[in-house]
Symmetry: C2
């Protein structure tokens, strides 16, 4: 779910991995070269991304080819829908609410 996806992407190296994979499937070795971090670290991050459902693996000889899975990104997209009204439109309920709060006070205030 959303929470797991966000957690998985919250780590810089994992975000970079995903960013590499958007250009298509890559082997572990290729990712190591791209990110310039150790192979075990890449493998570990890939396994976390895998458990979170962001990637899937296919084996070809000794190589493991990692690919992005669409689902979690689709979910993020749906999740964001609720937030779309934050922009574009006037979403200035804030001014309104601040006025309300102040009025509540003025009602019971000395001055």
């Amino acid at each position: 779910m959303m929470q797991a996806t966000l957690k998985a992407l919250s780590e810089p190296n994992r975000l970079r991995i995903v960013d590499v994979l958007i250009d298509g499937p890559h082997s572990v070795g290729e990712i190591v070269i791209e990110l310039e971090i150790s192979q075990p670290l890449v493998s570990k991050h890939l396994s976390i991304l895998s458990e979170a459902g962001l990637v899937e693996v296919h084996q070809v000889a000794q190589k493991r080819i990692y690919t992005l899975r669409a689902k979690p990104f689709k979910e993020m997209d749906s999740w964001l829908v609720s937030y779309r009204r934050l922009w574009g439109e006037k979403f200035n309920r804030l001014d309104k609410l601040l006025e309300e709060e102040k009025n509540k006070l003025e009602g019971g205030t000395k001055k």
Copy 2:
């Protein structure tokens, strides 16, 4: 930037806070009641959300009213654009690539 936003949202309670704030501005006390977690914890998470630019504060008497800021969500939306082609369309470069990899091998293989 994207990284900071994802990190901020990767924590369950912070995601819940954001989820409360989408219904409009709320005071700290209101969030405490909604989430049923301690006030200092809510304050701490709010300050993290604030530093990440996800919320802004307005003071009314002793209350601090927190509001969502549109920008980071807008950024997430733009960021997701690159991933939209993952779904809907045929994005099966995987099959193609796996074939390629296998062919590379078969070229230099005994059997």
